[in-house]
């Protein structure tokens, strides 16, 4: 029997990036907010202690900061003809847990998607005709880039993003990304000081007529005090970003940008190591009454609230909706239903160039310190003569030279012994790696649902991921790999190796923690789970915030748009919902 707690105005499920931002915004609006987080409390001072934070074995190999499958696993398969099996270890992607969420251990690439990405179906149909989309289920977001511009700006200024504008109020800027949407002002900080490998990459790309620019980075190029008054430091390029918490207060995360102010507020409370079991609905199924959660001692509580915000990792937002009966589950056979629809991922490939006599010094690095080419991303180029839509950013971002896992050697090198040792010595400083990060477009058969067989420790069905790379995306990625080969050849190394993505997504080797969709936003309740304000169509006092809202994924890291959507949803709640609680969009 759940113990019923006093009512709050707002209950937030998950205290990561979006949970922190929403909590800050809504406590500013005077509401009583409680955030329920299933992982532990973490802060920079205590948990990312500079004296032991760079522990590669603990954090990168043993994955100390990530969700453990014993707490929540999922089952995976490539298509409906297979039987999904549960993962015993997370591999292809690594969901976060704990205060700060996956924003704790990200690299820090902070993008805005292209304006065309937000109206993708309309845009591609107009430019190439509807036939081009026949194998895909791409959709418009229901919100445009121009509407989100202010929200992007707020997130970038919250974070102190270091970059160079490529398009200021419509005027293309030298040194920035000429393909980006128009922004109202510069980045808050200039780009980071460039290291050697990206510099070589940019020169080679430029020689091929491309437009490299410094990757917008949440590793800060200088000292910064954000609009909340929180101070951050200059990144020391230690190379311990992805899989690590930042010990130097120089990687933007909830810890370094929001929580110090949020935790001072008397109308905010965080309950950690408390896992929400479900969102409770009133008898009519149209109103959420709060959530039920279980604490670390196994005691079950009911937290009533007027407003329930799902701010968990995107995949878990979707699972909680399915477990709670919010929205109609998606059925790939009929193509009907909305929750679980349009699950997308990322379509990547990498290129390596092996040199002699270089000093790449890969240990001088940061998660987002590098150069990007967007000439072949999204719809920045003409797909007319091509047999695919979508594209990829090409990134040379050497994130680290850590001693255990950074051991690049050319193909054919023995995997152990004297020859391997010799090669690893020779190529540690002589390897340049860059990669394509490609769009992932929705298809009818890629989706999320509840597994019919496997359950978690509370007896709840696990989430089932059904995914394979769509043929369109494979054609796209392989075409971009050919373009990468041209850049790699121009680099003039001794040996060039360019990978090509293949069908048959493998859930074991790490690829990307960019899982999107499943609770997508849109203008039509028949094809989207939440409206353009991220409000659940069927239960208007539930908002679902995160990459779960992306109708499909672009060839860019998702955190920038996730942060923007957090501000967008906060504004919708503050300016519209609180004034007149109810459906913000009539279907």
């Amino acid at each position: 029997m759940a113990r019923k707690l006093p009512r709050k105005d707002v209950v937030i499920v998950g205290l990561g990036w979006t949970g922190s931002i929403l909590a800050h915004e809504l406590t500013d609006a005077g509401l009583e907010v409680v955030a329920i987080e299933r992982g532990p409390w973490r802060d920079t001072a205590t948990d990312f202690n500079v004296a032991y934070a760079p522990d590669e074995l603990r954090y990168a190999v043993r994955k100390d900061l990530f969700l453990q499958p014993a707490q929540e696993a999922m089952t995976m398969r490539n298509n409906v003809s297979q039987t999904a099996l549960p993962m015993r270890d997370y591999g292809s992607f690594l969901p976060g847990t704990g205060v700060g969420g996956a924003g704790t251990h990200w690299n820090g690439h902070t993008w805005r998607f292209f304006p065309s990405d937000f109206v993708l179906k309309t845009h591609l149909t107009e430019r190439y005709g509807a036939d081009r989309l026949s194998e895909l289920q791409v959709q418009d977001w229901g919100v445009t880039y121009d509407e989100l511009e202010g929200a992007f700006d707020r997130f970038e200024y919250l974070c102190g993003i270091s970059g160079k504008a490529g398009n200021l109020n419509g005027a293309i800027q030298a040194g920035g990304n000429p393909f980006e949407g128009s922004r109202k002002r510069e980045y808050p900080l200039p780009p980071m000081q460039m290291t050697y490998a990206p510099t070589l990459f940019a020169e080679a790309a430029r020689s091929k007529g491309l437009h490299p620019f410094p990757t917008p980075s949440a590793n800060l190029s200088g000292a910064y005090v954000n609009p909340l008054g929180i101070a951050m430091g200059q990144c020391t390029a230690c190379g311990f970003c992805e899989r690590f918490g930042c010990a130097n207060y120089s990687k933007s995360s909830a810890h370094t940008t929001v929580l110090p102010v949020l935790m001072r507020k008397s109308n905010f409370e965080a309950r950690t190591e408390c896992e929400v079991l479900k969102i409770n609905l009133a008898a009519d199924g149209k109103t959420a009454t709060g959530v039920t959660y279980i604490d670390v001692n196994g005691e079950i509580f009911e937290q009533p609230a007027d407003l329930v915000l799902l701010n968990a990792y995107g995949l878990f937002n979707v699972r909680l909706m399915l477990l709670s009966g919010i929205g109609k589950p998606y059925d790939p056979a009929s193509g009907e239903g909305v929750v679980g629809r349009n699950y997308c991922y990322q379509t990547n490939a990498s290129a390596q160039v092996f040199f002699e006599g270089k000093s790449m010094n890969p240990f001088i690095a940061a998660g987002a310190l590098g150069q990007t080419v967007d000439d072949y991303n999204g719809d920045a180029f003409d797909h007319g003569p091509l047999n695919f839509v979508g594209g990829a950013g090409i990134n040379c971002i050497p994130t680290n030279g850590r001693p255990i896992q950074y051991r690049p050697v050319p193909p054919g090198t023995p995997r152990w012994g004297a020859a391997w040792k010799e090669a690893t010595k020779q190529y540690y400083n002589n390897t340049l790696t860059f990669s394509s990060q490609g769009s992932s477009y929705a298809t009818r058969g890629n989706y999320l649902d509840l597994d019919p067989t496997y359950k978690d420790r509370f007896g709840r069905p696990l989430l089932r991921v059904t995914f394979d790379f769509p043929d369109n995306d494979i054609r796209m990625s392989n075409w971009v790999s050919d373009r990468m080969k041209e850049i790699a050849d121009a680099l003039g190394g001794k040996q060039v190796v360019v990978g090509k993505q293949q069908k048959g997504w493998n859930s074991v080797p790490y690829q990307s923690t960019h899982n999107t969709g499943g609770a997508i936003m849109g203008a039509d309740p028949k094809t989207s789970a939440v409206n353009r304000h991220l409000q659940a169509w069927d239960v208007p006092n539930v908002f679902v915030i995160g990459a779960s809202a992306f109708p499909q994924n672009a060839g860019k890291n998702p955190t920038g748009p996730v942060g923007a959507l957090a501000y967008w949803a906060a504004d919708s709640i503050r300016n519209h919902y609180l004034k007149n609680p109810g459906k913000l969009v009539e279907a």
């Binding site: 001072a45 004296a51 008054g229 929180i230 101070a231 430091g233 207060y249 001072r264």
Partner: protein
């Protein structure tokens, strides 16, 4: 509980009515609340997370433990049965109700300079504090210090009540600053060196004191180890926000800023800065720094680059509002390195104020640097980038490590 509050209320009303001193006027109570902020009463008399003024955590003095008393108007366990005269006497003379002698951990030598009106305001405010029943056994000192009448002798040696005397030659701001620093602010309680009996060495006013295994640095205008290099605005910023362009507060001062100085009126902070900029240091010339090729310096430099430079920078510049500047920093050049050793061994978290909410922290290195390492790295820091101070010895580190374990 309600009943107790009612009785306390009646008792207070009776006393006030009889003595006629306190007032229910809103502005008097508010003025008294501000006096309590200036004097930072809650720092000692409130437990972390506890009811305001209902008694604090034990203070570890060189003579033993003293527990700050319950100063809520609870008649049985607080000061609810006190008269205004008792209250005034406690502040002015260190003698409480029924002639009970206070220990000078309660800084009555400073409070004795408080003006009559300020004490009356404070009294008016304390009548309105929620009465809390909490019996505190203040005196936990060992014999013979446990004998309160020993304070007769102490007072005879060390204390004579005195009124604040303005200096007509100085500005109004200077005089207000002097009143605050010497009186309610009781800065000297920590920052003035103490004699063997624990009294202020008044001839060395604000030249730095050691207590509870912290060194409270020199606040005089000494250019090397005092505040000589700080402008008045730097001092105000530090007291108001916990940070300025050089430094960010931690340790006991972080508490004093959070609970007290960050809530002071700007004019009062300016007054304090005006006064402190005029307090003379010991006049001793800065020592010569150790040679860079000194063995401890070389060893310390290697440790510094490895462990410290990521935040504090290889030039000791630090980073504004986040990591303290070490180069030419007064506390680094203090003769007494206690606080420096302590922060390296235990780590320290910076102050949190509305203006500076970040609370960056220095991690503990006590577990991965040995005594000689800590001594060497501090010796290097204290003799680099314009700093010059006596070397730190492994013995000093060992002693403090032992003291902190107790």
């Amino acid at each position: 509980m309600k009943k107790a509050a009612l009785i306390a209320g009646l008792a207070a009303a009776t006393i006030l009515g009889a003595k006629g001193f306190a007032s229910d006027l809103f502005d008097r109570i508010e003025a008294g609340r501000y006096q309590a902020v200036l004097a930072d009463c809650s720092a000692c008399h409130t437990r972390p997370g506890g009811k305001p003024f209902a008694g604090g955590l034990p203070l570890q003095t060189p003579f033993g433990a003293l527990v700050p008393s319950n100063i809520t108007p609870d008649p049985a366990t607080g000061i609810g049965s006190w008269s205004y005269a008792d209250f005034r006497s406690a502040l002015k003379t260190g003698i409480g109700k029924n002639g009970k002698r206070l220990y000078p951990a309660m800084p009555y030598p400073a409070y004795s300079t408080l003006k009559e009106a300020d004490i009356a305001d404070l009294w008016a405010y304390f009548q309105k504090v929620e009465p809390v029943s909490n019996r505190v056994v203040s005196n936990q000192l060992p014999f013979p210090f446990s004998i309160r009448t020993s304070m007769v002798g102490w007072n005879w040696l060390n204390f004579s009540p005195q009124e604040f005397k303005p200096d007509p030659a100085k500005s109004a701001a200077w005089n207000r600053g002097a009143y605050l620093v010497n009186g309610a602010g009781h800065c000297g309680t920590c920052h003035t060196p103490k004699s063997l009996t624990g009294a202020d060495k008044t001839g060395e006013f604000l030249r730095g004191g050691n207590l509870q295994s912290w060194y409270a640095p020199d606040l005089t205008n000494d250019p090397h180890k005092g505040l000589g290099s700080w402008s008045a605005d730097d001092i105000v910023a530090y007291l108001k926000t916990g940070a300025n362009r050089f430094d960010i507060a931690s340790g006991p001062m972080a508490e004093a800023i959070t609970q007290s100085t960050s809530k002071w009126a700007d004019a009062d902070l300016q007054a304090v800065a005006t006064y402190l900029k005029d307090v003379k240091g010991d006049g001793a010339p800065a020592p010569q720094p150790l040679a860079a090729n000194d063995a401890a310096m070389a060893a310390g430099k290697a440790i510094y680059l490895d462990r410290c430079s990521a935040c504090h920078n290889s030039t000791g510049a630090g980073q504004a509002a986040l990591f303290a500047t070490l180069a030419k920093a007064p506390v680094i050049n203090s003769t007494d390195p206690t606080s420096l050793i302590r922060v390296v061994l235990q780590g320290s978290q910076a102050v949190s104020t509305a203006a500076r909410p970040t609370t960056p922290a220095m991690p503990s290195f006590g577990w991965n640097l040995d005594d000689a390492d800590v001594a060497n790295v501090l010796t290097y820091v204290r003799n680099s980038w314009g700093n010059a101070a006596p070397p730190v010895t492994a013995g000093q580190v060992k002693d403090l490590r032992a003291a902190l374990k107790r």
